[in-house]
């Protein structure tokens, strides 16, 4: 992915600036604390850091927002992952009797990775992405967001750009955080339609009746298919891509088409309509466009996933939350990088320094600089998300205080 001259060598210098001035600690803590409804929720949360030279440390935990800030500034992590809420403070797990230290809760998460689509995209492969194949992510988000809300009843979904080649979804509802491993696995499988590895040619097989979930998902795919598959990916332009498509068409249909060449169009369409393989067009569209998720990421309560607002060390891009109102115009290549964010911030704050010389230095520093950078709109969106989440805490907190008064 062309990342405009990014070089990981800049990280040791830029990360401290990023953490000192731009990382939204207040919002981050507000999120992970979940209103303080459950005791020690933030304190028992596991974080893992990847430091310089690929040193990986797990079981990091913090008592307060201040401690988190201090440690991050001290350790300067290249990568930050968020894990589960455990039964005890993760950084004390060695002192706990073996067997009793357990992962209890975590958001339900999904990870969509562009490399899982390599067999159906022609513009890029592996870690590259471009505007042509990014549509796959747009489709994935639309489909999964609808299903998680309408079918499963979840309300607080945070979609985050991973920083390189995919998107993550954090489902933050209380019911989601309390799901068992079996339940998470069931949700992920309900959402899976594309199955099979390299050895499987036909990865989507539909049978009658078509479940409402499949119909809804197809509706989304059909909206994007002509522009995406036919124009941008050009799946019917070159012989080898046409062959790939034909490999997904059932033998008897192909045979009928061949006959039609001799018999004429009317007989053909009637015959195809009556044949058993009516779903092959849908199956082809789904195989090319339907979201491919990694069930293993969603299954585990203790699974660690890249944190929102962390930097992706390979591209320098910041993992920003995505506003679904603007999903169709989201451009991953326009997401702020650590360089653009910090540099811009430095330039702006110099102007500001000149204008605001009277103000107290400490006060100036206190104003979170992100407000003046390209990161602003993402933090603002994160705030809105948190406001929505906060409504659910308020009810809980009232209930709790009522109970205490009774006793």
């Amino acid at each position: 992915m062309p990342s405009s001259g990014y070089d990981a060598a800049c990280l040791p210098d830029l990360l401290p600036l990023y953490y000192r001035r731009l990382f939204p600690f207040a919002q981050y803590h507000r999120w992970l604390n979940y209103g303080g409804v459950q005791k020690n929720y933030f304190q028992n949360r596991e974080f893992s850091f990847t430091l310089k030279d690929d040193i990986y440390v797990r079981y990091q935990s913090f008592s307060t927002q201040t401690e988190l800030e201090k440690e991050m500034l001290k350790m300067n992590p290249y990568k930050i992952d968020v894990g589960a809420i455990y039964s005890h403070r993760p950084n004390q797990h060695n002192t706990v009797k073996s067997g009793t230290f357990q992962a209890l809760e975590k958001e339900l998460v999904f990870d969509i990775d562009m490399t899982d689509y390599d067999d159906v995209r022609s513009c890029c492969s592996a870690a590259e992405i471009c505007s042509k194949c990014w549509t796959l992510m747009t489709i994935a988000v639309h489909i999964l967001d609808r299903a998680l809300r309408d079918d499963f009843g979840f309300q607080h979904l945070l979609w985050v750009y991973s920083g390189r080649r995919g998107v993550h979804c954090w489902v933050c509802d209380e019911a989601a955080r309390k799901l068992s491993v079996a339940a998470r696995s069931a949700v992920a499988e309900y959402l899976s339609l594309v199955k099979g590895g390299d050895e499987t040619v036909k990865k989507v097989v539909l049978t009658d009746p078509l479940h409402p979930f499949i119909r809804e998902s197809l509706a989304v795919v059909e909206r994007y298919f002509p522009q995406y598959a036919l124009h941008e990916q050009e799946i019917l332009s070159r012989k080898e891509s046409v062959d790939k498509v034909l490999a997904l068409v059932p033998e008897d249909i192909l045979f009928l088409f061949q006959c039609c060449i001799y018999e004429g169009n009317k007989a053909c369409s009637r015959a195809v309509g009556n044949s058993k393989g009516q779903h092959f067009e849908k199956e082809i569209m789904l195989q090319y466009c339907y979201p491919r998720l990694d069930v293993n990421v969603s299954k585990g309560v203790n699974h660690l996933l890249k944190s929102p607002f962390s930097v992706h060390p390979k591209t320098g891009r910041i993992s920003v939350p995505m506003d679904l109102e603007e999903l169709d115009t989201f451009d991953p290549l326009a997401v702020p990088t650590i360089r653009s964010a910090t540099v811009l911030n430095a330039r702006v704050s110099e102007d500001v320094k000149e204008k605001e010389n009277e103000k107290d230095a400490a006060e100036r520093r206190k104003i979170r600089d992100y407000k003046r950078t390209s990161l602003a709109k993402y933090v603002k969106y994160f705030d809105q998300f948190l406001d929505g989440l906060a409504l659910s805490w308020k009810g809980e907190l009232l209930k709790k205080s009522d109970l205490e008064k009774d006793f």
């Binding site: 690929d54 490399t115 899982d116 689509y117 390599d118 067999d119 309408d150 079918d151 499963f152 009843g153 979840f154 019911a175 799901l179 068992s180 079996a182 339940a183 696995s185 069931a186 949700v187 499988e189 309900y190 594309v194 199955k195 099979g196 590895g197 390299d198 050895e199 499987t200 040619v201 036909k202 990865k203 009746p209 078509l210 479940h211 409402p212 979930f213 119909r215 491919r292 990694d294 069930v295």
Partner: protein
């Protein structure tokens, strides 16, 4: 405490009341004294039943006619209940144990096995899976009235939806499941159940899901019941595990329980024999001659692309451990292959070496992971884009499988036999047929259920039987033991002999014990 006074006036004992129902949730443990020999024989019989269930579940569609018939037979032979409409006190038409006695055996044996199978995650998972399948088969055999009775007696109350709501959702309800028609919607009550209580239906998308609730017709309430059974059993096992130390302090029980949990789940190839007997240079030719198709495929993919994804590394790496590769050999093997690809030595040491050491129990929680059985390869860890693991008979397109077999020079008639078996979902039988064809033997003397078993049997055939004494342990002694206790199959004997290093001693102790008793 106030109730016991009233209870004493009731004549029938709670036990008879408990066995009044054909099916139970095993909520209450048995409260009686019994002899040790009955204790063990009950447990062993139930194990045989559960093992049968496991095997049938892989070879047949669950609840198909063949499946039910075979399970009926096995239940009858082992004196377990199999006809839910039999009345407990009916002794007239019985030869052998009465229905009451069968239900008592069922009850007691379940709780004994809980003791043996609560200790590790793997054992629990296996036990729960088989018990759920057993329960499903029995619940399926109940009459509709008995099903409703069962639900009410076990407190499963879910809300029904109104007629108006049914009408509005009619199309969606009909399209969500095969056995819901317009008539079903009109005639039956539909229940609104939280999706967490119906995971099997959600997982397979066989139900209508809206705003976190699934809508289930009365006829399908089975799945809910199963889920409930599974959850209760899971919690119960966790509790049982905590009281184990007390049980183990009884010296009569500990060897018995250990024997139960090791012997009949079968050989898991976790204890490495012949470590270091295989050199890395031999692997290429071994992969052609003695590896099952799944491992041959993985090895080929590894040689071709100098890389395997996580699922493939696990399946193949553990298999290699099982055939006798040492940790040092494994590290060398993976490293030299990965270096030929896009990974440099440094990156390998940082990113992949840890995983390999983890497999050998040298990192993390130091669990010594066991090589995957066929069951595990077929059913879990499904391959997706870019993967080469899984079972080729299950996960490959039949066309691709055919081409591959042709490339590996299997005869056309052999290939069609294999494809027939695959069509019938008999994946392990298909692999066994592949074994027979590639080793030019008429019929395999074993029943395939593990890739490492395939390897050992293959080496045995190719080595002309020379390796038997070294690898398989003490088959003669175990056959004596088994004969004395009445079990018959070779596989069980081998399993009983091989499963634990000190098992021969234990079975000898048990035998002499029973002679005294």
């Amino acid at each position: 405490m106030q109730f016991s006074g009233r209870r004493r006036k009731v004549i029938t004992s709670p036990q008879v009341e408990l066995y009044g129902q054909a099916l139970q949730f095993y909520g209450q443990p048995p409260l009686e004294n019994m002899s040790l020999s009955e204790f063990e024989s009950f447990a062993v019989d139930r194990l045989k039943l559960l093992k049968t269930i496991e095997n049938l579940g892989v070879s047949y569609v669950k609840l198909s006619d063949d499946y039910k018939r075979k399970l009926d037979n096995e239940s009858r032979n082992l004196n377990f209940p199999y006809r839910p409409d039999a009345v407990p006190d009916d002794r007239k038409s019985q030869v052998g144990p009465s229905e009451y006695e069968k239900r008592r055996k069922d009850h007691i044996s379940h709780f004994i096995l809980r003791l043996a199978y609560c200790q590790t995650e793997d054992l629990r998972r296996w036990f729960i899976q088989q018990e759920v399948d057993l329960f499903r088969y029995r619940f399926n055999g109940l009459q509709p009235k008995q099903k409703v009775e069962f639900l009410h007696k076990n407190n499963l109350q879910y809300d029904t939806i109104s007629v108006e709501e049914k009408k509005t959702l009619q199309d969606k309800l009909v399209n969500s499941s095969h056995n819901v028609s317009g008539i079903t919607v009109e005639d039956q009550d539909f229940y609104k159940v939280p999706f967490q209580d119906a995971l099997d239906l959600v997982r397979t998308r066989k139900v209508y899901l809206k705003a976190g609730y699934v809508y289930i017709p009365h006829q399908d309430i089975v799945a809910i019941v199963l889920n409930d059974f599974r959850t209760r059993l899971s919690k119960a096992l966790a509790l049982t595990a905590r009281s184990l130390p007390a049980v183990h302090s009884d010296e009569r029980l500990q060897p018995l329980l250990n024997h139960l949990s090791h012997a009949y789940v079968g050989q898991d190839y976790s204890i490495q024999k012949n470590v270091g007997k295989i050199s890395l240079e031999q692997i290429d030719s071994l992969s052609v001659k003695s590896f099952p198709l799944c491992m041959r495929q993985l090895h080929q993919a590894l040689r071709d692309s100098h890389h395997l994804r996580h699922g493939g590394r696990m399946q193949y790496g553990l298999f290699l451990k099982g055939i006798g590769l040492s940790l040092e050999q494994a590290l060398q093997f993976w490293r030299s292959e990965f270096i030929r690809g896009k990974v440099d030595a440094d990156k390998f040491d940082k990113a992949y070496a840890y995983g390999i050491r983890h497999m050998f129990g040298k990192e993390g929680k130091r669990a010594d992971y066991t090589p995957y059985s066929c069951m595990k390869v077929i059913l879990s860890n499904l391959p997706s884009q870019g993967d080469h693991h899984g079972c080729p008979f299950r996960h490959s397109d039949p066309e691709l499988l055919k081409q591959k077999l042709q490339f590996y020079k299997v005869s056309p008639s052999g290939i069609s036999q294999i494809l027939e078996l695959v069509k019938g979902m008999h994946y392990q039988l298909a692999c066994q047929k592949y074994f027979e064809l590639t080793h030019s033997i008429e019929e395999a003397s074993f029943s395939l259920n593990h890739p490492n078993q395939y390897f050992i049997e293959s080496q045995r055939v190719l080595g002309g039987g020379k390796d038997i004494k070294r690898e398989v342990g003490t088959p003669q002694r175990s056959q004596e033991n088994s004969a004395a206790r009445g079990s018959t199959t070779d596989r069980e004997a081998a399993a009983a002999a091989n499963a634990a290093k000190d098992l021969p001693e234990m079975t000898e102790d048990l035998d002499s014990f029973f002679q005294d008793a």
